[in-house]
Homo-oligomer: 376 residues x 2
C-alpha cells in the first residue's frame, strides 16, 4: 500500500513508510515556506512585502472543463505592507501560516474555532471567528490546498461502513490497520480516517447517503453485501473532509459513486455540491467528485413511486429560484428536477419509501435506480 520510505520528515519516526499524506504535508510546508521566504527577501531588499491573493468574489469564478469544477479566475488582489489598511490582515495571514506550520510539524489538528482561540491567546487581534475563518480561506487560496491539508478539520462528523481496510498515517496510530466492515453503526470520519491509506477493498461502488437513519437502513438490509458497496452518511451537507475522502475513493480505488438525498431543494444542493463543488470552495481544488452520480430521490420519483409528500415551504421556493439561476443547474437531471419541483409543489424524504415497508428502498428502489443509471 504505501511506498518505501525515501527520506525523513517530522512525525514519521514511528514508521518506515512514506504515505501520501506525508507527501501532501511536505508540499504544504514547502508552499508555506515560500510565502515566508518572499516576505523575508522583500524585507532584506528594503521593499515592502506584498502578497498577491486570488480574488474570491463570485465575479471571479469560472467553470474549468478539465477539472470539471468551478475555480477562481485570474484576478489577483494585492496585499501590501506599504498600505497601512493592509497591515492588520497581512499580519493575521502570516500568523495563520505560522500556526499551520506548527500543526503540521507537531502532527496536531485544529478546527476553525480552535484556531480562532489560539490566535486570541497569542495576542492576534481577530474581532470574531468570522474574521479568522476568512484569513484561513485566504491562506488556502494562496497555497492552493484545502485547510484539511494544514490539519484544520471540520467540526462535523460523517461516517463510513463497508468492505475496506484502511491504514492510519497519523502520529500514534501510523501503520495500524482497521477493517471498516466490523462495526455496523459506522466509523466516524475525522482526521485519522481522512488521512488514512486504502488497503484491501472488496467493495465495487460507493453509496453516499444524506441521513444517518437511512444509512442504518442500508446496513440493516445489507446493501453493502448485496451491492458490494461502501456506505457513507454525510449527516446533511457533506463536511469537506468527507467530500475529499469520497474523491479519494473514486480516484484511488476507481469506485463509482452514487448519491442519495431527500427529494427537496436542500437535498438537490447537497448532491450538487458534492459533484460540482461549492462556490465558497472555488479557490481550492479537488474536494468535489465530478464523476459522482446523483441517484435520487428525484422530484419525479414522488410521482413515479407515489411517495407521501409534503408541501414546499416559502424557503423551499426561494431556494428553487436560486437554483434556477445557477449555471450548474442548466443541464439534466438538475434542470428537469428543479422544474418538476415547481410543478408538483411537493417534496419527499428518503424515508418515504418505507410506505412500501422497511425493505423496499434497498430491495426494490435501489436495483431499479442503479439499472436505470447504468443504461444512460
Amino acid at each position: 500500500m504505501p511506498k518505501k520510505r525515501t527520506a525523513a520528515v517530522e512525525g514519521e519516526a514511528m514508521s518506515g513508510q512514506l504515505y501520501k499524506s506525508d507527501e501532501i504535508k511536505r508540499e504544504v510546508l514547502g508552499r508555506l515556506k515560500k510565502v515566508g521566504v518572499e516576505i523575508v527577501e522583500a524585507l532584506s531588499r528594503g521593499d515592502w512585502p506584498t502578497l498577491h491573493l486570488p480574488v474570491r468574489s463570485t465575479k471571479n469564478i469560472v467553470y474549468d472543463q478539465d477539472l470539471r469544477q468551478y475555480i477562481l479566475g485570474s484576478k489577483k488582489a494585492e496585499r501590501t505592507v506599504a498600505n497601512i489598511r493592509h497591515l492588520r490582515p497581512f499580519a493575521q495571514l502570516v500568523w495563520v501560516a505560522k500556526f499551520a506550520k506548527q500543526l503540521l510539524t507537531s502532527g496536531k489538528t485544529s478546527t476553525l474555532r480552535d484556531t480562532y482561540y489560539v490566535a486570541i491567546g497569542e495576542g492576534i487581534d481577530f474581532e470574531s471567528q468570522d474574521e479568522s475563518d476568512d484569513i484561513i480561506l485566504e491562506v488556502e487560496s494562496l497555497i492552493n490546498h484545502p485547510r484539511e491539508d494544514m490539519n484544520i478539520f471540520p467540526e462535523e462528523r460523517a461516517a463510513i461502513y463497508g468492505d475496506l481496510v484502511i491504514e492510519y498515517t497519523i502520529p500514534g496510530f501510523r501503520g495500524q490497520r482497521v477493517d471498516l466492515s466490523a462495526h455496523p453503526d459506522g466509523y466516524s470520519i475525522g482526521p485519522a480516517l481522512t488521512t488514512a491509506e486504502f488497503g484491501r477493498c472488496g467493495a465495487e461502488q460507493v453509496f453516499v447517503i444524506e441521513k444517518g437513519a437511512v444509512f442504518s437502513r442500508f446496513v440493516e438490509e445489507r446493501a453493502d453485501k448485496k451491492f458490494k458497496a461502501l456506505l457513507i452518511h454525510t449527516a446533511g451537507q457533506s463536511p469537506r473532509n468527507c467530500r475529499k475522502l469520497i474523491r479519494r475513493l473514486r480516484e484511488e480505488l476507481n469506485l463509482p459513486v452514487y448519491i442519495f438525498t431527500d427529494a427537496d431543494p436542500y437535498g438537490v444542493h447537497i448532491a450538487s455540491v458534492l459533484i460540482h463543488g461549492s462556490a465558497l470552495s472555488a479557490h481550492i481544488r479537488q474536494i468535489n467528485v465530478p464523476d459522482a452520480v446523483w441517484a435520487g430521490v428525484y422530484a419525479t420519483d414522488i410521482t413515479k413511486y407515489k411517495l407521501p409528500a409534503l408541501r414546499l415551504t416559502e424557503q423551499d421556493y426561494k431556494r428553487l429560484k436560486e437554483l434556477e439561476q445557477d449555471p450548474r443547474y442548466t443541464v439534466d437531471p438538475w434542470r428537469r428536477e428543479v422544474q418538476y419541483f415547481g410543478k408538483i409543489k411537493r417534496k419527499a424524504e428518503l424515508e418515504a419509501f418505507s410506505r412500501y415497508g422497511l425493505e423496499f428502498i434497498v430491495k426494490d428502489f435501489l436495483p431499479e435506480r442503479l439499472t436505470e443509471l447504468q443504461k444512460r
Copy 2:
C-alpha cells in the same frame, strides 16, 4: 460476558448465547402481548376494550428519590373504544404496538420517521409525524420501556472511543467482537452499539463531551490513555440511545461519568438532561444517569480561567429564566452557575481553553477539575 443460552427466542439462531438485549426483547414482547390480550379478552366478554394511560402532562411529574429522576405520578387517563373520539388514537396505538412486535421479531430497526411512513403505507391515518411520534410515546408509557427497546432508534449519531471490547447481539453480527480503541475518530453509536454486551474494559471512567471537535482534541492529546477514560461525544443534546449507553457503562461497568459542555445555558441543560432526565422522558425509566457529574465548563470558569467569552443573547437570557424556575436547578452547582451567568452576562465554549494552546484543556484543565471534583 453473556449468560448461557436458556431458551430460544427468534433471531438468536446464529448464536448459542443469551444476551441482556434478548431478555429486554422478551420482556417488551411480553408487555405488548399483555396489552393485546386484554383487548381481546374485553372483546370476548362483550366489553368495550379500554386502556389506562399514564398522564404525561407536567402536572403529573414527580421527582422519585430512589430512582433519582422525574417520573410520572399516578394519574391515568382512560382510552376506551366506547367513546367514538377515542377510537382513532386507540386504533393507532394498537397499530404501533403491532409494528413494534414486528420489529422485534424480525430483528429490524426503525426510526420515528420511518414508523410514520410505514403507517401511512399500511393505511393508518396519521395526519403528520407529530401524531405518530405522540402515539409512540404513549406505547412507551404503557409498557414502561423506551422506544429503543422496541427497536425504534434516533436519527442522531453520537460516537465513542476507548479501551473497551464490545460484543454485538444484533442479527448478522451476533457474537462478533470489536475493540473500541482501534479507530481514533470514534465509533458511531447506532442500534448495534447500543444493544452490544460489554467485554474486557481497561477504562476506569467516562468523559462525555458535547462537541465532536473537542472529542477529537481529547483523542489527540491521549486523554483516553492519560486518564484511562472512555470518550463519548454527544453531538449536542445527547441522543436517547447514547444516554442509555452511558447509563449502562455506569451500572454494568461501575465507571464514574464526567460531562463536559460549553459554558452557556444550552450546555448546562445538556448536562442536566443527562443526569436528571428530561421532562419529556418522565414516562420512561432508566435513560438518565443520576450519578454522572457535570464537570464544566462552568460560568465561574470564564472568570477563573479568563476565557474569551461572548455576550449572552436574548435567547440565552430567556433560557436562563426558564432554568431558574426549574426544580432541578435549585441546588449547586446548578443554582450557583445559573446565577453567575446572569451576573457576568457572558458565555464561553469548550474550545476557549485553546487560548492557552491546544494541549491546555487535557494537560492542565482536566486534571485540575478532576482533582477538585474528587475532593468534594
